[in-house]
Amino acid sequence: MEKKYPRIVFRKRLQKLRDYVEKMGKTALIAYRNSLKAFTEYDEELVKEVIQSSEEIERMNYNLEHKTMSIIAAEQPVASDLRFIEAALKVGSHFQRMGGLASNIAEVARHIKGEKIPERPMNDITHMADIVESMISKSISAFVNQDMSIARGLHRDDDKVDDLFDIALKDITKSMFDEKDAIYYMIYLLFVARFLERIADRAESIGDRTIFMITCEKP
């Protein structure tokens, strides 16, 4: 069958929506990277920058909602177009939460500045952080390129992060027992581990939305 592809304006609007969600994802990724940098080598300017980025992503999410409502009202999409728009809305809100969690990590930096973090818990956090960073990148790519294989891989990555979180929890608890004076800032370390684990959950959810968008099935 010859395809004529009318509705050129509609197709362009969908492409712009996809670009916008990608931009939100990239902004969240940069905020995340900066938050970790601020965490490991405290820099107040960087902390402020992460908080601003988080607010920017929140604004972008409102814009995304307006854009999607406008497309739905004007174009009345169905089938794969409707599923894409629904997924874009949900993915946008996952990126918004990632930005918020990055901001939380950056704020922790203010509380632990100058403290000497024990090596083992720090290594656990660093290891988790590396996997989480790659998960954010993969979640962007899975959604933007509608890539099922990358989307499915996010489940495995999330399992790794969950395992590392359990290890970090044990190591942080042990450090608390070893050095009671360190409890104050070790609690913040525990928060960071928790924030990382939550970001990984969000990335996994983006993978799930991508699979649902493509197959209409719960992963």
């Binding site: 069958m1 010859e2 395809k3 004529k4 592809y5 009318p6 509705r7 509609f10 009345q76 999409p77 169905v78 089938a79 794969s80 177009d81 409707l82 599923r83 209409c216």
Partner: protein, 250 residues
């Protein structure tokens, strides 16, 4: 329960093969929408269901159309009686140039009802069922031609249901109407489905999703896909359905 069963239906006008191996079951007390690009055979299909195509000399068909398990093309079938059982509402409202009352009473009189009191009751009942009574009850003797397009279309629906059909065929009933009149007809369809089996041809995808429970997609005389309206408009199985409903071809 299936009210209509269409089996291996092929329709020709002379050598032109218009419907090809169509199989479709229409469920009782449910709205079924037929969608597809212009010229795909939707209207020919519904006109086959009340033998309106018989009026065209070049029409011939193979396959069977069962209404309540009886072949409507059986030579013993009385076509006038069939069209009473399977009523039709057309794209453009086509009231008779008579009074509002006479428009609705006409079909009843043809079918032998002459008692004035009974006629009055039936006309009122039909106009109420078509959600038109309140707007016309004080001017029943006025010409139907003075009604608005939306009112005329509801009058045609009242005229159709006056003779108590089992099935109502609607061929793009809202395409000539404004949005408010369209909403009224759609609300009416929702009410009528309790008592009637409705088949509606529509070019308006959103209307199909709003009013129907089942949808069949026609293309080049074939049914490409049929089933639950939700499934077809959210997760169609066939790429051609997807391409049509998302506007990738017209």
């Amino acid at each position: 329960m299936d009210r209509i069963e269409v089996q291996d239906l092929n329709v020709y006008f002379d050598d032109l093969h218009v419907l090809k191996d169509v199989n479709l079951n229409i469920k009782n007390n449910m709205v079924t929408a037929l969608i597809g690009p212009s010229g795909c055979g939707k209207s020919t299909f519904i006109r086959t269901l009340n033998r309106m195509n018989d009026l065209i000399d070049t029409f011939h068909k193979t396959g069977t159309v069962l209404l309540d398990e009886e072949d409507i093309y059986d030579p013993k079938v009385d076509v006038v009686d069939l069209r009473k059982r399977v009523g039709m509402v057309f794209q453009k409202p086509n009231p008779f140039p008579k009074s509002i009352f006479d428009n609705v009473a006409y079909g009843l009189q043809i079918h032998g009802i002459t008692d004035k009191r009974m006629l009055k009751e039936k006309v009122e009942e039909s106009l109420k069922a078509a959600a038109l009574w309140d707007e016309v009850k004080n001017k029943l003797d006025k010409s139907a031609m003075g009604l608005s397009g939306g009112q005329q279309q509801r009058l045609c629906i009242a005229r159709t249901i006056a003779v108590e059909p089992e099935v109502i065929l609607m061929d793009e009933p809202c395409s000539a109407l404004d949005p408010i009149s369209t909403t009224k007809i759609e609300d009416l369809i929702h009410r009528l489905k309790r008592d009637y089996t409705i088949i509606i041809v529509t070019h308006n995808m959103q209307q199909a999703t709003r009013v129907s429970k089942c949808t069949a997609f026609f293309l080049n005389g074939e049914i490409i896909e049929s089933g639950s309206t939700d499934k077809i408009f959210i997760e169609p199985c066939d790429q051609r359905t997807e391409d049509y409903i998302t506007g990738r071809f017209g």
